[in-house]
Symmetry: C2
Subunit: 122 residues, 2 copies
DNA sequence: TGTTTGTATTATAGATTATAATACAAGAGA
DNA sequence: TCTCTTGTATTATAATCTATAATACAAACA
């Protein structure tokens, strides 16, 4: 579990941790059923407070990405079929596409980038 | 200039204003050369502080979306050709696509959504 | 000469973020 | 049983961020 945190970023650390784990799952670096580091281990490794990692895990849990058990630890959730996507994701996508459009990117080029990013494995 | 603000959102108001103006430009509701409301007018309309709008305008200015002049007001920038896109935009897109992927969305469906959102006019 | 423009300043209040230290219930393993 | 580890909870604290309020300023314009 290699986390790259930007302590100067406007984005809070616990959200950065959340994002990176989502990226990790999407890229296959983290597989369903795989155990995540303990909050203490990850906090140590990243040089942040235990509760900061705990907060990230609670976010991920709430969003269904992981399940935590006080006894067995934290595990990547198994997902089946095609889930409905939270409004947050659609808004995020819409904003990014708008920024590309305003930057003068034509549809074909935008879709090429989307394809590239989607297919990206690690 | 119709702003829809969510005062309960985790996203700061000045960033919501910034986002909505970017969306407005992308959708053609705001055209290059068009004058934006004054900070006071928009603040009044949205029911927020003058400086909150000013902060949004400064953000947009810094990102090149608008140009402000103390004498003539605020105007949507004209853009030519295809600009390079800030890292922020790519990261935003990457994260959204990852969330879709983990939700079980296949490439074709993701690209369909991107197409739909890109082409969306108002 | 006023008015309007974006911006700056100062003060203030509240919320959020992150840390530190400590504790707990409950399962795992010895 | 005893000990360790697990995620979580609590309390206190500090720093930062967000938003408001009131006021002011230089510059252009009618």
């Amino acid at each position: 579990m290699l986390l790259q945190l930007d302590f100067n970023s406007e984005r809070p650390i616990y959200q950065q941790i959340r994002d990176q784990i989502v990226l990790g799952i999407a890229q296959g670096a983290l597989s369903p059923g795989e155990k995540l580091p303990t909050v203490r281990a990850l906090a140590d490794e990243a040089g942040v407070n235990m509760m900061t990692v705990s907060k990230a895990y609670q976010l991920l849990k709430q969003e269904g990405y992981i399940t935590t058990d006080r006894r067995s630890g934290t595990v990547v959730s198994a997902r089946e079929g095609t889930q409905t996507v939270p409004e947050q994701t659609v808004q995020r996508l819409k904003l990014a596409l708008s920024e590309l459009r305003v930057a003068g990117w034509r549809e074909e080029r935008v879709l090429d980038l989307c394809r590239e990013l989607y297919e990206q494995e690690g």
